[in-house]
Amino acid sequence: MLEANFSFSYRNFEVLKDIVFRLEEGEMLFVLGPNGSGKTTMLKCLNRILKPKGSILIEKINLNNLKLEEIAKLFGYVPQRGEVSFLTVFDAILLGRRPYIKWEVGEEDVKIVEEVIKLFKLEKLALRKLNELSGGELQLVLLARAFAQQPRYLLLDEPTNNLDVKNQIEVMRIVKKAVKEKNVSAIVTVHDLNLALNYAEKILVLKDGKIHTFGSVEALNEDVIREVYGINVEILKYNGRRIIVPEI
């Protein structure tokens, strides 16, 4: 279980205030909110890329007391934008094993990377260099690396960025499967509210660096969206699914 209770300031400017929530194992939490509301900052605080005030506990153990390498075994992180380099796709995904490698990679590490490559259908790109990939392909590599890390928590910052609609569905399906079958928890930031309605179990809505709403996905309604985003929407039902239609 993850228990968060923290705030984060950047040079006297309070970016996040009183972020308090709990997440059980095997849950999928979507973090929503307008641009600049602190979604990305919140993810970065969770695995101590940034150092917030307060505490983040994993099974009652405070992350402040853990080394970076130990935190890296708990959290797999996918940033919004990936850096390109001359590394091959295989090498880049192999980096997910970095927290486990003592001196050199073993057969087990290579096997895990091979499985992840198959999972994301990256076989044909495995030996291509990152600087030769499209934005969508690079995004899949970033996701694959986080999976190769075999973390207990996936922190995905707009993971469907640059992906076509088929790949968006495919990626969310893979994440959901990992959440269900491997008891991994996922914390996902998105702008697409319909994606959240389709895949989230819990939502956390940020407004001006504070939690506006936290609860099950049903809590995402017209009023919350109007208060947070300042727009009117209609939520329709279609084939048992809810669809958000903004007023134009």
Binding site: I49, E69, G82, F86, R98, V110, E114, Q149
Partner: protein, 346 residues
């Protein structure tokens, strides 16, 4: 073939490339041993070496060993600097190692009288040889510590290091020019002569110092190879992979700069090897630092040895300092990078 199988084949190719570089270096060494004003055929080489041929033992072998260790040092420091500063054009010289050394050397030559010269044929020799390298090394150190201290105020970001480096380089360059302005003709000539990088001026004891420093630094860099690969993903992702980017950057910069400073202090300024060697490797086997570190060293060694051999033989008996040859080779590489137009890190 499975993905893992294909990857293992790729790793084998990288190993083969490294091995072929070792053979190339041996070949270049044999050629270099034989070439010069006094030519020795390959078949006679072994006999001459064991017979203690003074030309080989006093002139060529120290020169060749010096070219190899200095080239290897510059190659590996270039690879590391480009990674930690996340800039394909970065080298230890970016943070003012060369300009600091030149300033130190200028101070020693002008103010401590190390600049009296005499002519030997066409070449100029600097007296009091140890004062100059000690001051050159001190000059480099000052530059490195000032740059890294300034950059620390800005969270040790690559941009801060580069900007502070450019500022310090300009300052030291101005210092050298000021000293030259008030120096005598002979002293100015000595300073200029010192800045021509030349592996022929190192003696055995100096070669031993460079070699020891290279071994220590190489082991450290190789130990950090996974951290350098992680840094290629950006600082934030590197943290999420368990790597402390600031620590790796600071140590990498410091150790690269110290190794380069030792080389420059004894040999003068040899540019472009740091820049060219890692890029050459990346084009052939990619940017994996597990291989980039050893192969950049080997390419650096091959490049400097080849350049020095050319410099010794092209208008023999006059020896062109190797720094001039490497700059001539390095310029087209810069243009190639410019035309390629892709900004990739590592």
């Amino acid at each position: 073939m499975s993905v893992a199988g294909e990857y293992k084949r790729l790793i084998f190719k990288r190993f083969s490339f490294s091995l072929s570089l070792i053979f190339l270096l041996i070949l270049l060494t044999l050629i270099s041993l034989g070439l010069g004003s006094y030519r020795i055929s390959v078949s006679e080489l072994l006999f001459e070496i064991f017979n203690g041929n003074p030309i080989l033992w006093n002139v060529r072998i120290p020169r060749i060993v010096s070219a190899i260790v200095v080239g290897a040092s510059l190659g590996v420091t270039g690879a590391v600097t480009q990674c930690v500063l996340r800039n394909p054009l970065a080298t230890p010289f970016t943070i003012g190692v060369a300009q600091g050394a030149a300033f130190g050397a200028a101070v020693a030559i002008v103010f401590l009288g190390a600049g009296q010269m005499h002519r030997v044929g066409e070449s100029l020799t600097i007296f009091n040889p140890y004062i100059v390298p000690i001051f050159a090394f001190a000059g480099s150190l000052i530059s490195v510590f000032v740059v890294l201290t300034l950059a620390k105020l800005r969270d040790l970001s690559p941009e801060a290091i580069i900007l502070a480096g450019v500022a310090m380089s300009a300052l030291f360059q101005a210092g050298v020019m000021l000293i030259q302005y008030f120096a005598t003709d002979v002293q100015v000539a000595s300073i200029v002569f010192w800045t021509f990088g030349d592996v022929g001026r190192t003696k055995w004891i100096e070669i031993e110092v460079i070699t020891l420093a290279f071994i220590f630094c190489f082991v450290y860099f190789f130990y950090r190879r996974w951290d350098y690969n992680s840094l290629l993903t950006g600082d934030e992702t590197a943290i999420s992979l368990g790597v402390n980017p600031k620590k790796v950057r600071l140590e990498g910069m410091l150790i690269s700069a110290l190794l380069t400073a030792i080389c420059v202090s004894f040999t003068g300024i040899i540019g472009f090897v740091c820049l060219v060697a890692p890029h050459f490797v990346r084009l052939i086997i990619g940017g994996d630092y597990r291989f980039l570190i050893p192969t950049s060293s080997l390419v650096g060694a091959c490049l400097l040895l080849a350049a020095d051999t050319i410099g010794r033989n092209v208008i023999s008996p006059i020896i062109i300092p190797v720094g001039i040859i490497t700059s001539i080779v390095g310029a087209p590489m810069f243009i190639y990078l410019l035309l390629r137009g892709k900004h990739v890190r590592g």
